[in-house]
Every structure is written in C-alpha cells, then in structure tokens.
Subunit: 356 residues, 2 copies
DNA sequence: TTGAAAGCGCTACCAT
DNA sequence: ATGGTAGCGCTTTCAA
C-alpha cells in the first residue's frame, strides 16, 4: 500500500497537519521541520493521493477537452497546443471525442463536470447551444472556453479564427485566379461552416459573380465525404472551375475525385481548402488553403482558461480571433506568375512553401 | 451547489445508504424504493461526484495514455481506437505526450499514478525500461499495457506489430524493385527502431547485398529530421538508389529532400516508409509503406487493459502482435508491372489504393 | 430490506 | 509554529 501523510507524521512524531503544510510549502511551518518532513517523504517515495486532494481541496488539476475528431490533424494540433501550455502548471487533460455527434458531446461534458474538472475546452459539434448545454455550462459555475466553433454568442469565452474572412479570402483568391464558376463544399451548420459559407457568398457578391444554387452542397467534414460530394459536383453542367472546400480533408477528398475523373487540378478545377493541416503542402497537388494558426488557438485557449480558473471573481467573457491567412500552393495557381517579376501570389507561395 | 445523495435522502426521508444502493442498482433495495429514488434524482438533476466516488470506491474510471507525440497521426489514430473501446464502459482518457523525452514521460506516469488512474497505456520514448520506470510500473499493482514499443520484455502486456518483419518486408520489396544500394533512415533506439533496423539487415543479408556503413543513419521520428538526414545521404558517393525510412513522416521529409535535389522518386531513389498514415496515399508521390493496423492496436490495447482491470487476480502478461503488411504505391514502383498481366505488385497497389 | 458507523486521504479553519 | 476538529461526497462493512 502506498505511503500516506499519516505514515510520515507518525514516523516523525509530528501531526498530520504539519506534514500537509510542509509538503505544500505553506507558511507556518518551521524551516527545520519542513526539511525533515520533505526528506522523509522523499525517502519513503511519498506521492500525494490526488483524488483525496481533489476532493478536499476542490481542485482537480484536470482539464476536459472535447473535440469532434481526434484524427483530424487540426484538433490533434490544437490538443498539442493546449497540453503544451497546461502541463507546466501541473494540469492534465481528459480528452473526449464527440464524433461530431451532439448527444455524445453532451454526455462527455456531463461526465467531465461530474469528474469536477477545473475547466473545459470545447470544440462543439452543435450548430448552436441546446437548452441542455446552456444549463450544463452556464447553470453551474463551470469555467470553459469554446474553440474553433462558437455556440454561445457573447456570453462565452471563445478562441478561433474569423471564418467569414477565411471564406472570403479563399473565394476571392479563386476569382483572382480567373475562376468564374466557383462551387463550395460546405461543412455542417456549425459556426465555422456558416462563417466560411457567408464569406464565400460575400466574395462572389463583391465581384458580381452569380452561381447556380447547386454549386453549394454539403461536403461533410472528412475526405471521404468530400470525395462523394465532389463527384456530385462533377455531374453538373456547366461544371465548376473552382471549389472552395470547408476544410483540408474535404479538399483532399475533392481533389481525389477530380483527378480520378481525369481532370486536372488546378487547370480544370482549382481547389482551396481551409486549415493548412500538416502535409497539405506535400500532397499530390499541393493544396492552397487558409492558415488557421492551429497551435496558437490551442495555446490561447489554455491560457484563457487558466486565467478563468486562477481568478477568484468570474472574468467577463473574452473573444480571441486569429486572422486567417491565405496560403497559395499549386492547387489554385492557374496563372503563371505575372511577367513583371515576382508577383504577390508567387512570392506568397514561395514564402509559405515550408511554412506550417 | 450541486445536489448530493444526502439531499435526496433527506428529501425522501430515507437513509443515505439506500440512495447510494438504489442509484447503483445494487441488490438489497425494494423495487418501489429504487423507483422513488431514481425518479427524484432525475428531477433534481443529480450527478454523482466522481471524485468522491473514486476516493471511496478505489476506482477512478480514468485511463492514462502516454504517447511520444499527439500530432503524429499514428498515435492520434491509436488514441481514437482506445477511446472507441473505452468510452462505452464509462472510462475517460487522460492523455499525456512525452515529446519523445524520457524524463517527461516518467513525470507523466508518476502523476497519472498519483491520480489513481485505473490503468495505463504507454508508448514509451525510452529504449528500455529504466530502474525508475520498473519501480513505478512493477512496484505497485499498476495495470498497464505497452503499445507500439516494448520496454519491459516478457513481464509486461504489449500490443504492437512485428517490427523486424516490417523492416524485412520493406527492404526486400526495394530489392525486388531492383535497388542495390539501399539506405535506412533509422529511428532512435526504441524497440520499433531496433526492430525495423534488424529487419533491414536481415533482408540485405538474405539477398547477399552489402551496403556501406554510412547508408544507415538516424532520421529521427519526424518529417523535418527525415528531411535533414536525407540531405546527408544525398552527399554520399555512390548515392543510394533506395531508402527504407523509420516511419512515414520521416519518409515524407526524405522525399521532399530528394525532389528538391532535382531527383526523381522512385526512379532515382525509391522510398518506403512505415505506418501507413492518413494521406500517405495522397502525397505528391504516393508513399509505399508498411501498414501497422493502427486502429486495431489501440482497440486491442484497450481491450487487454480492461481485462486486467476487471480481473481480480493479476493476469499473466499477454503479447499481441499484428502482422505488418506491405502497401505498394508509386514511391517504390520502379518496374512497370510484369507484361504477363497483373503482377503481384500492381494488383497489390491497386487493391490498396484506398485501403487505409 | 434498511441504515448506522467507519472510513477513503487529504485540506480548511480555528484553536492552542 | 503546531495540531485538533470537521469536513469533502461517496462506498464498504456490518448490525438491526
């Protein structure tokens, strides 16, 4: 059986309380006593029972992280950012994936709360907060930060990217590349999906471009669903000559469909994704995309959550938005670079060749 | 403040114990009483405090997962497999990444143990178990399963892949493709690195091939390190005409170096990786690799750990090895398929085009 | 079938 | 500076 404080106390002939204080460097213990206690603790390989400490101290040093999909490298990288910021402060992360399912997500959050995690970081699968989610998160005094996707406008901490602008940048870039029939493989109606869709429409409107309704269809969130959706787009007449995809996995699936149909990316159809996931620059056709500052999103979310936890009084909700940044690669480069020398686009492409 | 059992008990005029039993469907409670308790609990939105339950019940329903790198899609997929198997049983996962650092790994394990996780799943960064790790894991009655990498031969549960065979398959395939100067970008001296290296040597020996010592150098574990290492290989004279890489990320980095040097993959240098990570089929040059049954490794590890936890008596250590499988793609295909029709290699390449 | 007592290992609060 | 008391919210053990 593991050593307990009580054992050390009896062993040393001091009280349990003295041991407790000494080990946590609390004031009110003689230096000499503290030394003896710490020494003996080390000798006995004492490790505090964190469950007991959590119960008594109302602090678990556990953070809950809820994401739609562990395998999506965007969330893996976010998780890495979070862990990097939290581990040094002694926190550990309980990770749950919802599989983009609202019910699963709700159960996970409920369980995490029952576990008394000190805080939550959530990339929600829900298009908007359900009544039960509001009750869960706002009912108690739960500390939480939403990332990537907003579900509680205004009243919640949020770290993400301006999705509207991301959609706008991607679409306008396609327009500048000479595409006139630009389709959009949209995501689900989560906030990122809605935002990117809005940006897409805004860019089209700005440039006076009209596209048939069928040019906007759901491409899901993964490469497999992107592949299927792109196959449907390929049936249309006239065929699109450019596609802005909800995210990089969808874009990768879409490119596969295009290439399998014997068409060329970017010359027959230019493709832009979103997320700038790892290896998107090493693909069959290197993928143009929107950079989402993935690691920083994770770090900031962790940072913000720590502040909420540390602070005695509830902090006013904060909203941190990283600027999206266009990364041009081959999948959307239809024009040779301007003869005048190094054009904006090419320079950008070269600079960002290895920028991950 | 959240509702406690005590509240329900007083509310209903029964004892705390009755509530406790009723809620957990313990025998020894009248059906009628149980109904009333459960009903009231639901009305009051009662959620058991899992910290308290853990402390009293000596069961946390928490599993610790320690991996070298969250971002490596191999471990992300393993994590997904683990979660898929564990979540239905009410377990949640505390995830820690060691960053391939032995000290960090040890601290993480210590913390997880102090948290009283019910079990551990570890992909260790260590080439072999240190004294402190043995003490930690074997000293107490910790339940744990090693994955991917072995550090405690024989005395520990292990789920992984036959790395020796993986290295052999990859190397022999390069030989069959006509490569005669086959290099190896090896990993660190973790068991997977050692095993793949051994397989590489075995294949060379079987076919009577000799290579200079400089053909085997460390390529690290990531694409960036693979890139650097490959650049060094390219200086050699004669240059290798084939490279077996420790894993897919390293292979991806290596391919980048080769292509940037103006050479062709596979005709100047054929490349094979290991791991069959997501999108390895969608790369600039689709990557030949060794499939590692990633999801199943995760699931089996979780399964095995559950058995250990459930069982009252300590189970004898079990060793589960998945067979490695060669996946041939363009990066190693130097010969046109045999004229006799569909050769083994091409058939395999086609079949596995979408096999992930 | 029910419940009282005794923890689980630790911390907060208040005496001394 | 030190330590006793009283929990934290639950489960296990055993008596009624």
């Amino acid at each position: 059986m593991p050593v307990r404080m009580k054992d050390i106390a009896e062993d040393l002939g001091v009280s349990l309380m003295t041991v407790s204080k000494a080990l946590r460097n609390h004031p009110g213990v003689a230096e000499e006593t503290r030394r003896r206690v710490c020494q003996r603790a080390r000798e006995l390989d004492y490790e505090p029972n964190l469950i007991a400490r959590s119960l008594a101290g109302h602090r678990s040093f556990l953070i809950g992280l809820v994401v739609p999909d562990l395998m999506h490298s965007f969330f893996a990288e976010v998780a890495k950012g979070i862990e990097g910021r939290l581990a040094p402060s002694g926190y550990q992360i309980v990770i749950c994936s919802s599989g983009e399912d609202t019910e699963t997500e709700l159960r996970a959050i409920k369980l995490l709360l029952a576990r008394k995690v000190d805080g939550l970081i959530i990339a929600s699968a829900a298009p908007h907060a359900s009544r039960s989610m509001v009750e869960l998160l706002e009912g108690g005094k739960a500390r939480y930060v939403l990332i990537d996707r907003v579900v509680l406008n205004g009243k919640a901490n949020y770290v993400g990217v301006n999705d509207d602008k991301a959609g706008f940048l991607a679409t306008e870039h396609l327009i500048e590349q000479g595409c006139t029939r630009i389709a959009h493989l949209r995501g689900s109606m989560v906030s990122t999906g809605r935002g990117r869709l809005r940006g897409y429409h805004r860019a089209l409107a700005k440039h006076g471009l009209k596209v048939p309704l069928e040019y906007v269809i759901s491409g899901g969130h993964q490469d497999s669903t992107g592949y299927d959706a792109m196959q449907r787009l390929l049936q249309l007449n006239p065929r699109p000559d450019g596609v802005f995809c909800y995210n990089d996995p969808v874009a990768i699936g879409a490119m596969r469909a295009i290439i399998e149909a014997g068409l060329d990316v970017p010359h027959d159809i230019a493709v832009v994704g979103a997320g700038n996931i790892r290896y998107s620059d090493m693909l069959h056709v290197p993928l143009s995309t929107i950079n989402y500052s993935t690691l920083q999103v994770g770090q900031s979310a962790a940072e913000l959550l720590l502040q909420c936890i540390e602070s005695k009084t509830p902090l006013p909700p904060k909203r941190i938005l990283f600027p999206p940044r266009l990364v041009v690669r081959k999948s959307s480069l239809r024009h040779p670079p301007p003869a005048s020398g190094i054009g904006r686009v090419l320079a950008s492409a070269q600079l960002q060749k290895h920028a991950r």
